[in-house]
């Protein structure tokens, strides 16, 4: 149910992102989604890629710190109010959101990457109660 996400520690230095993309390009890795979270000193790049273990391998070979974490990839209709329904499900279980990111470029559906305090519980509640709002967890 859960999807592997690659996170990379990137210092705020000129050209550092390009070195990440070069690694992934050389490894023939495709990126499905990504977010660069920034702090004053470093960035944390989180990505859903075509081959997470390989991405970690090529990044580490280039000297980056990379780890794989499991996240939920949630698909739901591109209709106002659906995110609220999803949050409602999480809230009932007292799950907190560590982070999330997503974008919708399709008229029909939107996709969200979420890490909650308990991803397994989150996946379970979506499979049990998400169907009525057409919310589902997909595996990338």
């Amino acid at each position: 149910m859960l999807t592997k996400q690659v996170s990379v520690f990137v210092e705020n230095k000129k050209g550092r992102m390009e070195q990440v993309s070069k690694c992934l390009s050389d490894g023939n890795i495709n990126i499905a989604s990504m977010i660069l979270a920034d702090t004053s000193e470093y960035g944390l790049l989180r990505m859903i890629v075509s081959d997470a273990p390989k991405a970690k391998e090529v990044l580490e070979a280039a000297g980056f710190s990379a780890i794989i974490t499991k996240v939920l990839v949630v698909k739901f209709p591109n209709i106002a109010g659906t995110l609220d329904k999803l949050m409602g499900l999480f809230n009932e279980l007292d799950l907190s959101i560590e982070y999330m990111y997503g974008i919708s470029t399709s008229a029909d559906s939107a996709t969200l990457v979420v890490k909650t305090s308990d991803n397994d519980a989150a996946a379970k509640v979506i499979s049990e109660k998400g169907a009525e709002s057409d919310i589902s967890v997909i595996c990338m």
Binding site: Q5, S7, F9, V10, E11, A37, T39, E41, Y42, L44, R46, E60, G63, F64, S65, A66, I67, T69, E98, Y99, K115
Partner: protein, 432 residues
């Protein structure tokens, strides 16, 4: 301008005779009362009888900070504990403190030495002196405090921390003297400027020390506050602040030679160097009772002159410090060894020993940044956990060093690995 003319203006021959008599006594005392010294002397085949005068001092073995640490806490004390009326402590290379002890007479002599310096700096019993060194285990606060009281001045024991309050009292009390670290005084000067009270202060003299500073910085302080600034030197192992200071001519720091015998040696061969040549400063205490030091290697690099000073004093003068022969840093008046950082990081167990300390001076205050590599084993993909990690490192470092440091997480292997001795410090302060 001389507090104790009899001692400070002795002829060189008289001084040598006094030093000889005091050294003979000191050597006798440590040989019979301190096992460490006795063993060390026996090892090189020296007995107290072999030391007949000050010229024989070179026969004696050296003492180092490591010896103090190995004999922690009271192993080198030469009197029963009942005679010790105070201890001070400073940080050591491994986190273990270096403890020093004083008898009542040691405290009196310390106050005498500091009074000489305050008098030399132009302060008198009519003056109101703010002591803005830290009070506590650090020798700065209490050292200056007792000296200023001995002088007969009115002492305001400010300690450090509240700069606005210090300035308010400086104005309200019409304080004429201040004793603190030079960087703190520059910070005070800036705050005075910000408060717009520069023309209301009555300050005339500052006695600054406990950290390395340049002649330019001294002149800057004088200029910004319209005062005289003097350099006071000392180290807790020998006594604390007050071992030496500069007079109104600012041509080197007068050593209180009747209490502390200075030598300059080459740090590699340990042989004495000629006057005027730069080497490591070595001190032997001539009157200390609690913790006598025989040829203590200060690791401070300087040169010495025995020429009579224009001020009339005949005491030897050491030049402004030219650095250290070990890797000790003085940051905000606190002794810091890179190895302390390393030990703290390793003890945490969550970081690599790869780190870089960047020391700088921003708005005249020392800053310390420590870059630590983020390795996979403690890397998480949540920023709040990374922030917790740097907070935790910051806390551990604060505990170990006694000063705050800014912790910056950096990529693995981004800190340069050197082939030989690792470089762990970048000091951008340009003090020498």
């Amino acid at each position: 301008m001389i507090w104790n003319e009899a001692k400070e203006c002795m002829s060189r021959d008289e001084m040598a005779a006094l030093q000889s008599a005091r050294l003979v006594k000191t050597v006798n005392r440590v040989y019979h009362n301190v096992e460490f010294y006795r063993k060390k002397m026996q090892k090189v085949g020296i007995e107290p009888g072999d030391i007949k005068g000050i010229e024989d001092i070179t026969k004696l073995p050296y003492t180092t900070k490591a010896d103090l640490r190995d004999n922690y806490p009271f192993g080198l004390f030469a009197v029963p504990k009942s005679e010790i009326v105070r201890v001070h402590a400073s940080s050591g290379t491994t986190g273990k403190a270096t403890v020093v002890g004083y008898t009542r007479r040691d405290i009196d002599i310390w106050a005498e030495c500091v009074a000489r310096i305050l008098y030399m700096a132009g302060l008198r019993r009519e003056d109101i002196i703010q002591v803005a060194y830290g009070y506590g285990l650090f020798t700065g606060g209490l050292g200056l405090h007792y000296g200023a009281e001995n002088l007969g001045a009115t002492v305001v024991p400010m300690s450090t921390g509240n700069t606005k309050k210090l300035i308010t009292m400086m104005l309200d009390f019409e304080a004429t003297g201040i004793a603190c670290t030079p960087s703190y005084l520059l910070h005070i000067a800036e705050t005075i400027k910000e408060m717009g009270v520069r023309d209301q202060i009555k300050l005339k003299t500052a006695v600054c020390g406990a950290e390395p500073w340049t002649e330019q910085m001294r002149l800057q302080i004088e200029e910004e506050l319209g005062i005289n600034a003097h350099d006071i030197y000392g180290l807790s192992e020998i006594m604390g602040p007050g071992v030496a200071a500069d007079c109104e001519f600012h041509k080197g720091l007068h050593v209180h030679e009747d209490h502390f015998f200075p030598e300059i040696i080459a740090p590699d061969t340990l042989e004495p160097v000629a006057p005027g040549e730069v080497g490591e400063l070595v001190f032997t205490t001539l009157t200390k009772e609690g913790l006598p030091m025989i040829r203590y290697r200060t690791k401070d690099l300087t040169s010495i002159t025995y020429d009579k000073c224009e001020c009339g004093r005949t005491t030897a003068r050491i030049s402004r410090f030219k650095g250290r022969s070990d890797d000790m840093l003085v940051i905000r008046g606190v002794n810091v060894f890179p190895s302390q950082v390393e030990a703290a990081l390793l003890e945490m167990g969550e970081t690599t020993p790869h780190y870089m300390m960047i020391v700088d001076r921003v708005n005249n205050l020392d800053t310390l940044e420590i870059k630590v590599e983020v390795e996979e084993k403690f890397f998480t993909d949540e920023i709040k956990q990374l922030e917790q990690l740097s907070k935790k490192i910051g806390h551990v470092i604060h505990q170990a060093l006694g000063i705050q440091a800014k912790i910056t997480l950096v990529e693995p292997k981004s800190i340069e690995r050197s082939m030989g001795k690792a470089v762990h410090v970048i000091d951008n302060r340009n003090l020498v």
